[in-house]
Symmetry: C2
């Protein structure tokens, strides 16, 4: 396989060096040649991960990364390269962290501070207590028992059994499952459940603080000594007051077992983290290849550039960011002038709730009513897609197609039509040249969790590609193993070619993607269903 | 499954509480009841792992563990509980370790000192150089280039693709593969190759030292931020002079890539390790349940108690050690007096070359000639099975059967007959009551890598059980994830019952296992094969 590829690349290089006289290479083949034989996607990804490291929204690291990305886009000659800011919250970064069991025996533990928690201000040491709490009702059991303690707030889990492969590529049976239209539905209770979950950390923090606890610890969601450190209390006035760390599952459960079998272990935590409130905004990076027809609108590629902090944010989402940047480089290198402007965006704030793309929509595409009086500002994200009416802005119809990449390093296998069955033929047509590269499928299903979602919610044609999952779910997603090592060069070269190809096709097409009507009310749901009080 | 087991256990408990008048429970059923319904195997394993932690041969931690085991055996009323020493080498332990990349950006790395390497005596900091070396021929390339450097001695690997399940239980197709007699063979060159591998670290150390290198770093053999830290230079006069650490593969490869893409990263290492030469011996722990017939000989169960240091040595081999101890507790609790003595042994030095069982054989079972004049003392292990003649000692025929457990936490599925097809019927007979527990298979194949091997090599009937592999190979073996979490309670209860059952059956049987003739020469090999000079 690899030998064949090398042979293909060498053959390709030879063709470029000695073109047949009088025959101009086709643009699609020039694009493939540029993306396969002259690829820079891994160099871009390496600088982004090894070089820049983690890119937490509005962190000092993200600020450096923004400048790097701007320099790159400018270096390739893109137009109007700029940062586009939106109100976010506090800056925060990890300087160092250590967690040690001091008794019954000394032992270094694998730990990460939970994002946006405060520092310990030097090492703090205290006995642990295992006090699992997920709801306010659970506080009563622990009242009066937490003073001077480091509180283990997760119910200790069981060891995992990885009885399915951790690394997976899609096959025809997977595609079959995806290719079925599902009727949209709206569950108003799911919003309330999510709001409760997101509000709980502040309630827990207030309780722990009032009880005189020293700090809190949670268990990693993955076994095998991996840690993650996601945290969501980033807004000024909402950051927690007690330091919080995540321990590797093995380390957390050892503490919990020892606390059950003997005297409570003593834990020492030194969480050296730093807030940076010099700027409360986060920034999307925007860069254009201008089109020749100012009335033809624009097409856009995007990927979120922000990451979590446990590693270098490689598969989530240097992969997508590098592909978007490489697609820009490829198209620019072809020297073609597309009919429509092609816009490249690196979003910020995705990990905190698709905030960068939401801000773009709100500014340039369509507005929805703000949170009601007294509603939590988190509703910006959680409540937004449920508020009506939607008011299209002047730029609403200018965006003809948006292509997003944010599902790891796996190659593109096709695209989700997001229930827009009328768009299937055109999406298929554009993908046709890349079918033999494995990317030809258009499936009816929707997919969520990334920056095309809010565009779809207002009727803008935003799409996410289908990608081979690889070990994104089993290992790298948000974890301390999310490093460049787990990026796949062949996959990312393919993805860059397909991304560039889709952009060029949609930018030059005589047709535009059929749109849905502007949504005017929530999708259907079952109004006769009773609510389970235990949910 | 779990519900059924709970129901069975509750039913069992009820039977014990109210025995049917006039009917005595069968010993096998009493044994199963004791092992399933009154099990202590997980309590034993928890104390051994969470409580005691790692048990490196001849380390201070191992010394504490030995005393704990002696107290346990004595507490259960076993006879003649004692330590049985053998000459080993230096004691060594980790106090703490840290490794940080200082430039191009600060980053904490996941590291472990390589066992028996010297301390850094505080933090040392230097630029890295990637200089992969596995043979003396490689030194020339790096001569004059290593002064003042931290040397990355492993060729950086590629990221892994876990495309098979990491957790596995055996099925009939696996057993079929195992159940075929393989003709023994002896490859004299394999010994030389192994000796070269084992001698290389000292040569590399001397070269690095002479070149003025500061320290060396190797890459973890597993992806996913796991580290291991195995090292073999434990003999006085043979410990290395330069500090050496193992870095997580992701961290190692990041350094290597950065060194290739820009200025060499600066690395800071603080390896705070400690030698303890207060005792150069390692100790096996031996405990007996005396038999009623002093002329009937003895049967024996064993597992190695020593571990590596990256975690708590849970699946390797607290699992086997806890099962051997629990089997002792179960049999003792039955109050039966076996015909033959049943001996329980916790070996030390297994990880350095089956040294504990080798010492037992050499003292009590059979001797082989010592290393030839001028041969490296490592030949004790490497050369031993190839030296003739074998001289049986008075105790040679007294050991009627030896049962070993050392393949992780997976339940016992049967036993390897080690090519001794004449022993198959009796092994099968003894396992029959446990067939419905999943342990009924006797396969012809041999298996290696643990403490029955040298017994077989001198013709003593030593056997290792077949075990479900679980995630032993993919994740826990020697790794920083080898904690109690990855032990399986149902598996270890089953293993304890089967181990106790096999001991009791072999101790009371009218028959003894058919033996091989005392081996008198190396097994057959192909004398006409030419040696590949590149091997």
């Amino acid at each position: 396989m690899k030998k064949t590829l090398v042979a293909m690349m060498m053959a390709g290089a030879a063709l470029v060096a000695v073109p047949a006289a009088g025959q101009k290479a086709d643009d699609t083949n020039r694009l493939i040649d540029q993306g396969m034989n002259h690829s820079q996607v891994m160099t871009i990804a390496q600088e982004m991960t090894d070089g820049l490291g983690p890119r937490l929204t509005n962190s000092p690291g993200m600020r450096r990364a923004e400048q790097w990305a701007i320099d790159k886009f400018n270096g390739w000659g893109l137009a109007d390269v700029h940062r586009d800011g939106f109100e976010f919250g506090r800056g925060w970064e990890i300087v160092s962290v250590s967690a040690r069991m001091m008794s019954p025996r000394p032992l270094a533990l694998t730990a990460i501070p939970v994002a946006w928690t405060p520092p310990t201000n030097g090492a703090v040491s205290a006995p642990v207590i295992v006090a699992p709490m997920t709801k306010e009702e659970h506080f009563a059991e622990w009242k009066g028992k937490l003073a001077g303690k480091i509180v283990l707030v997760t119910l200790p889990g069981d060891g995992s059994e990885a009885d399915k492969p951790g690394f997976h590529r899609l096959d025809s049976s997977d595609f079959e499952k995806l290719d079925s239209f599902r009727q949209p539905k709206y569950d108003p209770d799911s919003l309330n459940r999510r709001l409760e979950r997101v509000a709980f950390p502040e309630k827990l923090d207030a309780f722990l603080k009032a009880e005189g606890a020293v700090a809190w610890v949670r268990e990693s969601k993955r076994d095998g000594k991996l840690v993650h450190g996601e945290g969501y209390n980033y807004r000024a006035g909402h950051t927690l007051t007690l330091p919080g760390i995540e321990l590797a599952a093995e380390d957390y459960r050892r503490l919990a077992r020892l606390a059950k079998s003997g005297p409570a272990p003593e834990l020492e935590i030194d969480s050296n983290v730093r807030f940076d409130d010099s700027d409360t905004k986060a920034y999307n990076i925007i860069a254009d290849i201008p089109g020749s027809d100012p009335k033809a609108g624009y097409v856009m590629a995007g990927a979120h550039f922000d990451s979590w902090v446990a590693a270098d944010g490689a598969t989530d989402n240097a992969a997508g960011s590098a592909v978007v940047m490489e697609a820009a480089r490829i198209i620019k290198a072809l020297g073609v002038r597309p009919k429509r402007t092609i816009r490249f965006v690196l979003w910020s704030g995705e990990e905190q709730g698709l905030l960068g793309s939401l801000s773009y929509i709100d500014k340039y595409l369509a507005s929805r009513p703000g949170p009601a009086e007294g509603e939590d500002g988190n509703l910006l994200y959680y409540g937004w897609p449920n508020r009506y009416p939607i008011t299209p802005k002047p730029g609403y119809y200018d965006l003809k197609a948006y292509f997003n990449m944010d599902n790891g390093s796996g190659k593109l296998r096709g695209i989700y039509a997001e229930g827009n069955v009328a768009a299937v033929p055109l999406l298929k047509e554009w993908l046709t040249p890349y079918a033999s590269l494995g990317a030809g499928r258009v499936v009816a299903a929707t997919t969520g969790g990334t920056d095309h979602v809010f565009m779809q919610s207002v009727g803008v044609p935003g799409y996410q590609f289908i990608q081979d999952p690889l070990d994104y779910g089993s290992r790298t997603h948000h974890s301390s193993a999310d490093t460049y090592d787990h990026l796949k060069a062949e996959d990312l070269r393919q993805a860059s070619v397909v991304m560039a190809g889709m952009l060029l096709a949609s930018a030059n097409s005589d047709k535009t993607l059929p749109r849905f009507p502007v949504p005017s009310q929530p999708s259907a749901y079952d109004p006769f269903k009773y609510k389970d009080p235990n949910e």
